[in-house]
Symmetry: C2
Subunit: 349 residues, 2 copies
Amino acid sequence: MASITASYPWTTAPLIAGAPMRLISGPSMVHAISSAGGIGFLAAGTDVSTLPENLSTFQSLLSASPIPGAPSDVLPIGVGFIVWGADLTLATKALSELPLPPAAVWLFAPSSSSELNSWASGIRSATKNKSKIWVQVSCIADAIDALKVAQPDVFIIQGADAGGHGRYASAGLISLIPELVDAVRLYCVTNGVGVPGFIAAGGIADERGVNAVLALGADGAALGTRFLAAEEAVIRKGYQDAVLRAVDGGNSTVRTDVYDKLRGTVGWPEGYGGRGVVNLSYADALQGISFEENEKLYKLAEGAGDKGWEEGNARMTTYAGTAVGLVKTVAKAGDIVKELRGEIVVKRI
Amino acid sequence: MASITASYPWTTAPLIAGAPMRLISGPSMVHAISSAGGIGFLAAGTDVSTLPENLSTFQSLLSASPIPGAPSDVLPIGVGFIVWGADLTLATKALSELPLPPAAVWLFAPSSSSELNSWASGIRSATKNKSKIWVQVSCIADAIDALKVAQPDVFIIQGADAGGHGRYASAGLISLIPELVDAVRLYCVTNGVGVPGFIAAGGIADERGVNAVLALGADGAALGTRFLAAEEAVIRKGYQDAVLRAVDGGNSTVRTDVYDKLRGTVGWPEGYGGRGVVNLSYADALQGISFEENEKLYKLAEGAGDKGWEEGNARMTTYAGTAVGLVKTVAKAGDIVKELRGEIVVKRI
């Protein structure tokens, strides 16, 4: 297979992707990530209605500050959809009305194989096959299923350490990447189809993580948690401070449905939970406080602004992966991309 | 810091350790691992009574087949203890009566800091400081605590993907190694003490995993699951076949206390569970079958020998990590060590 960066000619190897974090990955951040030779993903999430405006804002940023090497037939970014919750008709309409489609579309968490199939073919049709289809999976079974119904151009291999939503039953990248890459290659060779690219996500926060996933067989890395502390992230200061403060990521985060319930973001397919920093909302739920009481306290915290994330009193959701303990400074998204590629050396003990 | 292999002069970099798997890691396997330039750990586990005989058997093997480069003042292997369950008095007695102490002692799962302190000082005293103290930890808090009470020579960094026992609250190696290494280095520099070595465990099964943990900042790798399929492992064929059969390690294994309860191996400190292959014992427990009924079925399976692990009907415990899906062949333990170092090239798709 040709190097994955050849398909995204403005990018530099190893490919660094900014994950499409719902509400957080906006036009400025994706422009900064792609300008630094990565690929930023706008988050459509479950609500496609904001996508046209976000794409239009990105186009303005791109006109003001073009990205060298960007192809003439696609935008040098991607768009991410949470498949079970987003409206395919609205999504394809938004994409087909664009002067240029995004270079990639990232599909996550379909409620069924046939839904994934509809999305992959719908997007390909709406973008005249110009948008590459990236499919996020966290186990071998889902990857083989996706090969059959969606022929992904790229797999995002999501490990158990990932922040935000993912499957409860999952492995870390250390074993997941090699087993998945071997299984996908075997399927492709056996069936005479091309081998997709592999981008790893979940627990990566610095150059060491990137080098590790390359050693495991991935072609690049996708990051969410690290970009929560990007200057361009659309994020409350309280949330960002909670990310900077958290240490010991395996102890201080947990995958749960407690935060989904409190926020009312329900409807995820069975088996999915969101990893976030443990705070009073989770501790109280664990102690057996009633949902109504916990929700009341959550809404009070919500009304308190950044104080809802205050140390010791935090109740507001802080989705983050186990790499949260490695995130200690706010930086420009473009500098984060360069640090991840080893072009900016970070001083450590 | 000098290379970790300098402390174990018969070894070759990167250092490969055979984890002390209770009942499974016997004299033949540790001799084979150390003979190939790794370091094998005999498993004393919670029952020190078998240790003298196992050490004596190892000495016979060593006399018959010496290990080049082995020092004259220690045995070229280690011994592992499950601290909460083993008897320190018996352990120090066994070690002090040896003509040569083991090169390393691996301490896991103390029930308290003071217990870890007693073990580290007791072993050092019994072996006249000849046995290096390896301490297994799975979070930053435990590592800092161990630095204070046990001054480990080596940390075994245990990620969430590890088979057998470990903490429920834990991160995969992808984020755990860099965060732990940074935190330990900072502590050591701040307190003017030497930086220990770092050996990573949990989810590693082949050369790719070894290279990944080196990129993340470890000095070497410890493996359990891969050595379940070593010719020299003391293991039932049914168990070994179940390991070879399992795929999709994040889906097919789970960390739980179900198997502990069925086997009667209780007494683990709070927060620990054992990762094993999902089988009927676990599925039935999840479905809400009574413990008595599940135990009855377990004992029937136990009486059925290797059939207790039979595909589709398995009830017997198959402790294994998420890397189980990468273990597809039985091999000599020495060849496994060489494969892990990249000296034997494994053909893949």
